[in-house]
């Protein structure tokens, strides 16, 4: 089968890239080894967060936030996105200083989406918060969406523009034959003139086939969810110096995360919850919100995600082959970036240059 573009990986980034390319008239086929959104794309916490990102990511996250505001016009679905803000709480003076420095850094880069709030405003915003906190850093435009719905929305919109999803298809080898890419897969041969690597936690296997291995570490990130509760908190809660991330979803259940790592058997693609880690997280939640101690946890799970050593993604042309591109390594914060990634990757592929500079994300940064 021959197409303009073959994209390896049918998660958020592959689907978003395919959609944008299709919107500009390119024929795309996605090669997905399982089903779209099977791993981190579909099972993440769904945070729409500009707050506290690596400075290199700020131009991307700000543009993506604009796209999220109007996601329905892009995807014909609101992806259940809500924008009650994201907040990092300071528990003491040292925390507050840390947050103030952060806010100053963001301002110095010419952005204003991260704001300091004082104790009074903090407790106005989150009256349920336990006593003793002194203030916080907020991004009022932030929020959350539903990950699997978002993958599905991207897929359905992409399919409506002619993108083909070749699911249950594993890539065995990649070969360049003249100007064409030849992929040998579990479902036969596929060829194209352009190749994009959006393989998430498996992206290093693809980039290794392109003779440019990367220091990617697959890890399983864990989340737990509680029974439904009456509405009691709006913003997504984080903390300045402790591992905390939790939000109350539309249905009332709480999703608790915060860089909790589960045990991972990468070969078998099996994750297993490490309850002692979860216990630490439960402890943090209960110390901020003591009234939650009798709330029942109904489910915990791990999703397999790609981590780079510097915790920012690779968004780049290949340095070994022409007409090969990479978008992976989102290191547990790709959900919010997914709309803009498709946009910049399509620009990079079609125009040779993206409207937002991507220098920090080049694959060559790992050359030694």
């Amino acid at each position: 089968m021959t197409t303009d573009v073959l994209i390896i990986g049918g998660g958020l980034m592959g689907s978003s890239t395919a959609l944008q390319l299709a919107m500009r008239g390119y024929q795309c086929t996605i090669i997905e080894k399982a089903s779209p959104g099977r791993h981190s794309s579909g099972v993440s916490a769904g945070g729409l967060r500009q707050l506290n990102r690596d400075p290199a990511e700020i131009p991307l996250t700000v543009e993506s936030a604009k796209m999220w505001r109007d996601i329905e016009s892009l995807l014909d679905s609101d992806c259940d996105a809500r924008f009650p803000g994201q907040l990092r709480v300071a528990e003491n003076k040292a925390d507050m200083e840390k947050l103030e420095q952060r806010a100053a850094l963001v301002r110095s880069l010419g952005y204003h989406h991260e704001e300091i709030i004082d104790k009074k405003e903090l407790y106005q915003l989150v009256p349920a918060l336990g006593p003793g906190c002194v203030g916080g850093l907020i991004c009022r435009e932030d929020g959350y969406g539903r990950p699997y719905h978002t993958v599905t929305a991207f897929r359905r919109k992409a399919e409506s523009l002619g993108v083909k999803y070749q699911t249950g298809t594993e890539v065995y080898s990649i070969r360049k034959d003249g100007d064409d890419w030849q992929l040998r897969t579990s479902q036969g041969m596929f060829s194209s003139s352009i190749l994009v690597n959006c393989a998430g936690a498996w992206a290093n296997q693809v980039s290794t086939m392109l003779d440019e291995p990367v220091p990617l570490t697959p890890k399983a990130l864990a989340l737990m969810v509680t029974e439904r509760l009456p509405h009691f908190v709006d913003p997504v809660m984080g903390a300045a110096s402790r591992k905390l991330s939790f939000k109350q979803m539309q249905n009332g259940s709480l999703i608790i995360g915060g860089a909790l790592i589960a045990k991972l058997d990468f070969e078998k693609e099996k994750t297993e919850i490490d309850w002692l880690q979860m216990a630490k997280s439960a402890n943090t939640v209960v110390s901020f919100f003591p009234q939650l101690k009798d709330v029942r946890i109904v489910r915990a799970w791990g999703g397999i995600e790609s981590f780079m050593p510097d915790n920012i993604p690779v968004l780049s042309a290949s340095q070994t082959y022409s007409n090969a591109y990479h978008a992976f390594g989102f290191s547990a914060h790709g959900f919010q970036l997914s709309p803009v990634v498709g946009k910049v990757m399509s620009e990079l592929i079609i125009d040779g240059k993206s409207s937002i500079p991507l220098d920090s994300f080049h694959i060559s940064r790992f050359n030694k």
């Binding site: 359905r156 029974e227 919850i273 216990a279 003591p290 101690k293 946890i297 489910r299 915990a300």
Partner: protein, 464 residues
């Protein structure tokens, strides 16, 4: 309670009790954990405390549990009633909750003997107050002697339905009708299995005996019933169904349904044991060998949780797993194990004679397993309807787990126990694929809910 045992048995029904009595005889450290306050499991629930008069009404098969419970009380196994297992993994770590406190213990060998559950079959109106599973009716009867005041309609399929009708008859309950939804065509398809079933004729004669008594008592027994619906405004008022080509109704405040039992696989799934779809029993069950060994070293399954074979068979399976764990722990040689186990192996095989016939005879029709009524709620926790599930399939979510991701069905506190099978059947029906290929919901821990406070207390360094 210690934090390590050579053998931990989960479940205090016939399999667990027999396993404990067998294994602890050799002086190993052994603990039996059970959710119930008393030994007996579902089948022999309240066996130690039930008044004689009520016990007689429950029948001779129930009284069999007395001996089993007594032998267990005699043995050296430590007994932890009202203890819930919320986590189990392949490293043989067991998360438990006892006296409201969570803890983790480990074992060298684990026997999962957590039995069966009633097969949840969603039909129009099944979530209405006044519609319950027959097992719930039995629990109320066994534990508290509670029986329906204003009569009851029984509907469904399988031996338990007949047994409950018989028990109610003897307890003086008005059984307004017994509606058997087993398709008449099953009688034909079960015939080839009948000769083997004759080897277990005591089960057949018992079943026929119940039917004759019910008939004599004038209880209407309708066979080949279809299109079952529960109707009423707030509460059940009318049971509607089709029989002999005609629409019929019965006024009733209570409808007890039963559609057979399926293995409780949530623990074996949590541990990562391999499961397979059993076409004959219409359910998922863990793969295991004759002794109960699963593919995870050290984890065994015994009793109905390993596949439905009934209470007597569970007892034999429990003993076999007990012998096998002693062998695994180095306390028996293979020869000794085989010699000790010979009788149980034979008896367990004999118990199996009746099963292929029963499974074919009581095979639940697809029209019930995969309802075509789009308004019927399938996932009660997240309120997902059959229509939403079928729509998700139409949108390209073509297996149970993708449908779960998309619709949230199976994500509530019951963890999909009530809807997992129904979803698989509906997805299979809508996509035209085999149920076996739809997969069961990937089990997500905890196996049963625990609170944030209970979990937080596991973090010893900085307890709140």
């Amino acid at each position: 309670m210690n934090n390590h045992y050579q053998l931990v048995i989960i479940g205090g029904g016939p399999a667990g009790l027999a396993a404990a009595a067998t294994a602890s005889a050799q002086g190993i450290s052994c603990a039996l954990l059970d959710e119930q306050p008393e030994p007996g499991g579902q089948i022999y629930r309240s066996i130690e405390s039930v008044p004689d008069q009520r016990a007689q009404k429950l029948g001779s098969e129930y009284l069999r549990g007395k001996k089993l419970a007594a032998a267990f009380r005699e043995c050296d196994a430590e007994y932890y009633p009202e203890t819930r297992v919320w986590s189990l993994n392949k490293e043989l770590e067991i998360g438990i909750i006892r006296n409201d406190e969570a803890s983790m213990i480990t074992a060298d060998q684990i026997i999962i003997a957590n039995g069966a559950m009633e097969r949840p079959v969603p039909f129009p109106g099944w979530t209405k107050p006044g519609v319950m599973q027959a097992g719930a009716g039995q629990i109320l009867f066994k534990t508290a002697g509670v029986v329906p005041d204003n009569g009851v309609v029984l509907a469904g399929s399988g031996p338990l339905l007949l047994l409950l009708a018989w028990q109610y008859l003897h307890a003086g309950v008005e059984v307004k009708a017994l509606l058997d939804v087993t398709p008449l065509s099953n009688h034909l398809s079960a015939m080839p299995k009948f000769p083997r079933a004759i080897l277990a004729h005591h089960y057949l004669t018992k079943g026929i005996g119940y039917q004759i008594e019910l008939k004599r008592a004038g209880i209407p027994m309708l066979f080949g019933v279809s299109d079952l619906r529960a109707e009423g405004d707030e509460q059940l008022q009318t049971v509607c169904f089709k029989h002999s080509g005609k629409q019929k109704t019965i006024e009733s405040e209570l409808l007890l349904t039963h559609f057979g039992v399926i293995p409780h696989t949530w623990l074996s799934q949590a541990a990562g044991c391999k499961h397979k779809w059993d076409n004959s029993q219409q359910c998922w069950r863990p793969e295991h060998d004759e002794w109960g060994n699963t593919n995870i070293p050290g984890i065994m399954v015994a009793g109905d949780g390993a596949g439905i074979n009934g209470g007597r068979s569970a007892e034999h399976a429990g003993r076999l797993a007990g012998f096998e764990s002693l062998f695994a722990l180095g306390l028996l040689t293979q020869e000794e194990r085989d010699k000790l186990a010979a009788k149980d192996i034979k008896w367990k095989r004999d118990e199996r004679h009746i099963r292929p016939f029963l499974e074919a005879y009581f095979q639940i029709p697809k029209s019930l397993l995969a309802t075509t009524d789009n308004d019927t709620v399938i996932c009660r926790c997240e309120e997902v309807t059959a229509g939403q599930i079928r729509e998700a399939v139409q949108h390209g979510h073509d297996n149970s787990n993708q449908v779960k991701f998309f619709t949230r069905c199976g994500m509530g506190p019951c963890q999909g126990r009530q809807c997992s099978n129904a979803v698989a059947h509906i997805v299979a029906d809508e996509s035209g694929e085999a149920v076996a290929d739809m997969g069961h919901f990937r089990g997500r821990p905890p196996v049963s809910p625990l609170t944030l406070g209970q979990l937080a207390a596991l973090d010893k360094e900085e307890s709140v």
